[in-house]
Symmetry: C2
Subunit: 199 residues, 2 copies
């Protein structure tokens, strides 16, 4: 997100990071003002003062400018920080919740706005769900390591699928209640999964 250390990056890389952030910022603003579909890549490029060609060098698709994020490493860190006496499900649950708890209010507001926009625009929602399959794979790998199994073990895969499915259901619900507490909803949902999906 931020142009990081000025020492470890050359001018070139710093400029790239700045451009990328600027493009994302203007894109989000335009999406908010005009709507996602009504905003053209050309408009975003003009606002960010780059050419359309350059836009597609930074983001392979228009969707990407909104969907690209770096929460995976955050999730990994949070998961691996969980004490080993927790069950895998407890560990996942606390990892999600603590990762969210560590966010600033600004960041959280951003997440909310993004989630609402993504879930309300079919193309964005589809692409976001597709990305979640990667997160599913990631969870499978993390859990596999923790319980010393293979990521393609049936139990591990099923576990990851259930967790991501619950996540999806929470995201969909949350997107329509702007006032709800995301971490709370997710925690509640995962606790129900832990309890064996009581009905």
């Amino acid at each position: 997100m931020s142009p990081d250390d000025k020492r470890t990056m050359g001018l070139r890389e710093r400029k790239k990071a700045k451009t990328m952030a600027a493009v994302q910022m203007h894109a989000l603003r335009l999406f908010r003002e005009l709507g996602y579909n009504a905003t053209t890549v050309e408009q975003i490029a003009e606002a960010a003062e780059i050419s359309p060609s350059t836009f597609f060098r930074y983001f392979p698709t228009k969707e990407d400018v909104l969907l690209r994020d770096n929460y995976d490493p955050v999730l990994v860190a949070a998961f691996e920080a969980q004490p080993s006496d927790l069950s895998p499900l407890q560990a996942v649950r606390r990892a999600f919740v603590s990762a969210i708890a560590d966010m600033s209010a600004d960041e959280l507001a951003m997440v909310r706005e993004r989630d609402q926009l993504i879930m309300s625009v079919p193309e964005l929602r589809a692409a976001a769900l597709n990305n979640l399959t990667q997160t599913m794979q990631l969870i499978a790998e993390l859990v596999a390591k923790r319980v010393d199994r293979k990521p393609d073990d049936a139990a591990v895969r099923t576990f990851a699928g259930a967790v991501i499915g619950v996540n999806i259901s929470v995201m969909l619900y949350y997107a329509e209640r702007p006032d709800a507490d995301f971490a709370g909803l997710l925690d509640e949902a995962l606790s129900k999964l832990e309890a064996g999906l009581p009905l």
Copy 2:
């Protein structure tokens, strides 16, 4: 799929059903022969002897020609046919399995080919996952009715999310092992969910 009863439909509707089936058939064939992205709508239209404009009247997007199906009513019927002494999860599990068991060998082969194609093409996969959110909602409604709760009840939503998530994980796995038995994989996965996701 089939042009149904000739009595209950006028000539117009029968023709439409036939055209639609023809378009889907040619599309699937071309996708198989040339690949999804390398096949243009124009080619599909030409093969099915309609104009491109007409193609888009039948299918709002190119993805739709492959993704549109009518399994929802099948699932509903299968679910509602389950004895009421089963737990919701058992009922869902048996509903899925019996719906698949009722398919002909041809139909099953079709499902397999479709699944492989869909899961291997990002755009298709994304759209398919997006469609699954509707199935998730459907499951929530079915289960809600069964246990006499609201579809937006937290426990119900979480249940539906987990079921769909498990489904997704099975579809992804299945797409890469053409020889596996879909019903078997799904049954195994849902049984693990029933058993509380043991690891």
